[in-house]
Amino acid sequence: MRIRCLLLSMMSAFHLLASVQEDFPAGRLPERFMSYRITDRLNYSGEDLYDYINGGAELYLSYGLTRMTGCKYNGDGIPQLTVEIYEMTTPKNAFGVYTQSRDREERVYGQGSQSFHDFILFWKGCYFVTVYAQSVTPESEAAIKHLAEVIDKAIPATGQRPPVVALLPEEGLAEGGFLYFHHYIWLNAYFFIANHNLIDLDDQTDAVLAKYGDANARNYLLIVEYPDGEKAASAYQKLKENYAPELTAAQPFIRLEDKTWFTTWTKGNRLGAIFNGNSREETEKLYILTINHM
């Protein structure tokens, strides 16, 4: 009996998953609402996304895009609306794309969102969602809010933020000031560090880069989780050799040629580094806050 229940449950779950795959999300979007109706449907997977957004597709592909669905809404004399729902391989990748896009953290839609008059973006579960209007009118602003609510409710599952993000100290963290990623291209998102994959980032590593301090004097904190301590130690050696070979246990904070401070360390399978430290005191304080989290 228990086995039969389990099988039925698994079949039901499979059926639900298949249904979601087929129908979600385009099937859940209203065909018509307010003065709008769907005029085009969007459905792209993998590299087909190039057909839709050319090279910009690489942003999503670098986070493991599964497919993008959505639609365009039009109406007489009103701004076009576009819904794009990017389905990623994991919730943490959806979260990563979200961190590439948002400037501040809100929680109006999904598990994190940012709203503008013409644009709403949010993440929930494996999905990164954008809803935007061609231009801003009171009607288009209300319409994109409505669609964001519909999509938010239609996505059944939430997902966890990558654990590495929890390692960031809250004190001094700039609002919306961190980025989660795997691909080395994003290592330079806030601050040029290297023109190559200096610290062996790949799909198996979770990296977070964060801004601390005032806008005119940022400190940048990098934390990377590797699959094991050996890989973390190897990346640490490469960073040390290429960035601050003079760094030692006796001299863990290095003042660079531009008078900023740098440090790097490992703890277990994690690598940490602070770039552009304004002073030794600030760098040391951020290091202590971080190491206590790690």
Partner: protein, 297 residues
């Protein structure tokens, strides 16, 4: 062999450089290769009256800006002579524009370039303006001259979309240039359909896009009325100037160093790795004409 570069390498080499000049410290390489090369001339022209308080550029002012930029660039005495030095009546001319629906080349620029090429004596049947169809366009296939025109914007994978990148539609497989955030875009200029043909690059900064939230984003919130055109013979120098302007605006708007994400490394590599032109500002003769407030360069 090209060396991998870290920020520390740059700091060691450029210890006297202002740390805040993100656009240069954001660059992956600092060892500019052409120390003895002649300077590339680039003309930046702006006109505060271009939009005249409206949404659309004034065609007469746009024409005046284009002619003045080209005259200054060529060093000729007037626009007629300048255009005559750029295309000959016997040329078969392709104007490579950009039609991305959210941020296309302003139509007035396509119109003006067609007019100027025709006025230089090129016959109508030997002239085409195209973007996504260039590979199959008979005029482009047999072209003897190309003119490259597109608007300046940020880009989610290459940092910026500007003149170098505008030739990606000449590639049989554009996605093959995406590796390492489009580092090798300069090699587009080696494609047979392109090589040695480009007579003029025009980067349009009427209302440049200096930021995007997602790859598909081109919001007016992140455009500003710069009312400028950049003209040059060297796409790398043209893009280098445009890049500095975009970076300057980003820093001013966000009130902090806000590097392009990812950095537009293909512009510098176009010089240091592929030798297509010069990106180093010290190797560029920048001539600035017209409105000079908040020029950012």
């Amino acid at each position: 062999m090209e060396k991998f570069i870290t920020r520390r390498d740059l700091l060691k080499r450029t210890a006297l450089m202002a740390v805040g000049s993100t656009v240069f410290l954001s660059r992956p390489l600092s060892a500019w290769a052409w120390a003895d090369a002649a300077k590339s001339k680039v003309v930046l022209i702006r006109n505060r009256q271009l939009f005249g308080g409206g949404d659309q550029p004034d065609p007469a002012i746009a024409a005046q800006m284009l002619d003045e930029a080209v005259t200054t660039l060529t060093g000729k005495k007037d626009a007629r002579e300048a255009w005559a030095s750029i295309v000959k009546p016997t040329d078969i001319v392709g104007v490579k524009t950009n039609v991305w629906n959210k941020f296309p080349t302003p139509e007035i620029m396509n119109t003006l370039l067609k007019e100027r090429v025709l006025q230089a004596g090129v016959s109508d049947e030997n002239l085409s303006v195209n973007d996504r169809g260039v590979k199959n366009d008979p005029i482009f296939q047999k072209s003897t001259a190309l003119i490259n025109v597109r608007p300046m914007r940020t880009h989610a994978w290459s940092g910026v979309g500007s003149c170098i990148k505008n030739y990606i539609m000449f590639s049989p497989q554009p996605s093959s240039y995406h590796d390492d955030s489009c580092a090798s875009l300069a090699t587009l200029y080696d494609l047979p359909i392109v090589k040695g043909k480009t007579r003029l690059h025009i980067l349009v900064l009427f209302k440049p896009l200096f930021h995007h939230r997602t790859a598909q984003d081109a919001s007016e919130e992140y455009m500003w009325t710069y009312s400028g055109l950049i003209a040059g013979f060297d796409p790398v120098a043209v893009d280098s100037v445009g890049l500095r302007i975009i970076q300057g605006k980003r820093n001013a708007f966000f009130q902090e160093d806000r590097p392009l994400n990812p950095p537009a490394k293909h512009i510098e590599l176009a010089e240091t790795r592929y030798h297509l032109g010069v990106a180093d500002p010290s190797k560029i003769e920048l001539v600035k004409l017209g409105w000079d407030e908040e020029t950012f360069v």
